[in-house]
Symmetry: C2
Subunit: 242 residues, 2 copies
């Protein structure tokens, strides 16, 4: 069940910069494995010294940090095409963990080849940097939420952001998408308690801008959600995929 980059069904989507056969071959040479992990699997652990670099091929995942007393903060969610583990690869020690939300497939990009890659294929190095910068932009936005938005606005901003990203990837059908998040995940991503998240979700559901239930997100009025959340950033696309 190995997926060859030359036959990758993901990279041909319009969300991504289309690459020449030559470039794809370079990436394929870098890719050393194609992993399948079950939901819940932690593929980067905090403090891990040999964490690898991955491209999420299918499914959802998240990065998180936690305090020693157990409080957990989800830093950002990753969707197919996202690069995970760049910090960990470069620093030689991971400052965060990464966990699969669904069953996932990962393309393994051995970090020991990362330096070499920059040497040999600078264009790819540039794209790695681009993806790293994009990852930071997601965290920036989440920090704005946690720091300055109220609970309902935070949830709306999360919905708007995820919806826009899913749409770019073609995961939206009839204004709806699979959302493999429990309310606990939402709470952990937004810096809220589980109970307050639940109550705020109920209130938002009553407003009919969107609703989350049974693992699905239905957005009835994206404009309304965006306005309420003051979330106006479009997803960055087309973007490189490695």
């Amino acid at each position: 069940m190995y997926v060859r980059c030359a036959a990758c069904p993901l990279r041909v989507r319009p969300a991504f910069v289309q690459k020449s056969d030559e470039e794809v071959a370079l990436i394929e040479a870098w890719k050393s494995d194609h992993l399948r992990l079950p939901a819940g699997a932690e593929f980067i652990r905090p403090e891990q010294t040999d964490a690898e670099l991955f491209t999420l091929f299918s499914g959802w995942a998240f990065r998180y940090k936690e305090l020693i007393d157990g409080r957990r903060q989800i830093l950002n969610f990753a969707l197919p095409g996202d690069l995970i583990g760049l910090q960990s690869s470069m620093f030689g020690k991971s400052l965060y963990g990464a966990v699969a939300l669904t069953d996932i497939e990962l393309c393994l990009l051995p970090r020991r080849k990362l330096g070499n890659l920059f040497e040999r294929y600078p264009e790819l190095g540039y794209e790695v940097t681009w993806l790293g910068a994009r990852s930071e932009s997601l965290v920036d936005e989440n920090l704005l939420s946690a720091g300055r938005r109220g609970a309902a606005e935070r949830i709306a901003a999360l919905v708007a952001g995820l919806y826009k990203r899913a749409e770019t990837l073609g995961l939206v059908e009839d204004g709806a998408l699979e959302l493999p998040l429990t309310q606990q995940h939402i709470a952990d991503a937004l810096g809220l308690s589980l109970v307050h998240t639940n109550k705020t979700l109920a209130r938002l559901r009553a407003q009919k801008l969107f609703s989350i239930s049974e693992g699905r997100l239905v957005v009835h009025n994206l404009r309304g959600v965006s306005r309420f959340a003051q979330h106006f950033e479009d997803d960055l696309a087309p973007r490189p995929m490695i």
Copy 2:
């Protein structure tokens, strides 16, 4: 008053990877200007399409985002040696603003040469990526604070983080350093109100772990601060400087 990289007093500090004359010459070729800006100057504006890439040479600065109704979130503080503007340079549009906290000096690294740089000097490209990853790690930590730490813990975590960074740079003398932040900046960085920040600072001052007053931060007990804040990350050093 142009500062040549070959004579750069900053890069020779132990915080930074020491470079060969050849490498320094490459950076010097990239650097196109040396700017001096007064405190308060905004050198990257949100939405700006032609923002440049900078290395902060002297002084302090910060990146921020804001909501249209005026609520502002400081994303991270930048100290000498930090790279600012990588996202903006790569995306062709800035998703944040950057402002000088003190009078500052900036090394201007023209972004139009960035792609070329990766081609010609992959080692430098790698270091740019490294610095981008480090920048994300700072935001990650701030998100953990805003999402999961209480007000006093947030302030302590900010103090611990800034102190450790300043120490790495040799800015600490007798446990104290110049801290050019108003309480409003601290509030904006931590997602707190000004009033609550002020009261929490007073309470922390009474605990004598550290104190902030008259533009100086004095840390009496770094261990105690770190333990209270549950902040255990050391500053990443030595690190590249470009």
